[in-house]
Amino acid sequence: MTDFSNAMSVAASGMKAQASRLRHVSENIANTDTPGYQRKVISFEEEVAQGMRSGAVVTGPMRLDQTELTRIYDPANPLADASGHYDGSNVNLLVEIADAREAQRSYEANLKMFDQVRQMSSALMDLLRN
């Protein structure tokens, strides 16, 4: 039984991590056109509780992508400097979409796993019923 509850909490930690990744992706996409915006990236780490590897996954600290901001030429923009350029964001939509897809795929895998374990444990419970 502890194996099952362990497996369920591990799958839940995976879903939580992927969801927070997806949230950062959507923040990045929402701010594609924000001048001076640096895209946010998070990394995943294996959880270590009291010196033991629990097998669950946690999200590491959020970092800002230090890639150079794109220079956009638009003399009419109030932010434009003397040469008519201003700093845009460093968000690449293609990268964000790919990241979102990967997060979705991993989320689904975790959900599937959760369901699988739940079915196994309820099959075990059924033994008691008859």
């Binding site: 194996d3 099952f4 362990n6 497996a7 369920m8 591990v10 799958a11 930690s13 995976g14 991590a17 992927q18 990744r21 990394s43 995943f44 780490e45 294996e46 097998g55 669950a56 996954v57 990967e102 795929r105 991993s106 895998a109 975790n110 599937k112 796993m113 699988q116 374990v117 079915q119 196994m120 099959a123 075990l124 059924d126 033994l127 008859n130």
Partner: protein, 128 residues
């Protein structure tokens, strides 16, 4: 008396083994995007079963007398998985999902054997 019937012990061990394996698969899937994570696996029940002999009792500690904890507690984690991704992660989602379905079926099989043995036992006692 009935708890030492071999078939019940084997079915219990098989179900427990499936649970332990499934927990490892859940860890692999949760860490499918963790950089540097090495996929792990437990050998299938059929392998651990054959390795100790079919009728021999298995114990996990020398102090144990009965073999009630067959098979599972002595499982060994082995590195598994496929070619590492650029970030050093060796989890293959497809493989893990396939494993999880296989394990789930194995668990069902163990429970079916258990239930059937129970039915046989009941019939023997004249209750149906």
């Amino acid at each position: 008396m009935f708890d030492s019937l071999d078939i019940f012990q084997t079915a219990t061990a098989m179900a427990r083994h499936a649970g332990a394996r499934q927990a490892i698969v859940a860890q692999n899937i949760a860490n499918a995007d963790t950089p540097g994570f090495q996929a792990q696996a437990i050998a299938p029940f059929s392998e651990t079963y054959q390795s100790t002999g079919a009728t021999q009792m298995r114990t996990t500690r020398s102090g144990h007398v009965s073999g009630s904890a067959i098979g599972v507690a002595q499982v060994e984690l082995a590195a598994a998985g496929s070619e590492p991704a650029p970030n050093g992660n060796t989890v293959s989602l497809e493989e893990e999902l396939l494993n999880s379905v296989a394990i789930s079926r194995e668990h069902d099989r163990a429970l079916a054997v258990y239930r059937h043995a129970m039915t046989v036992l009941r019939t023997t006692l004249g209750r149906s």
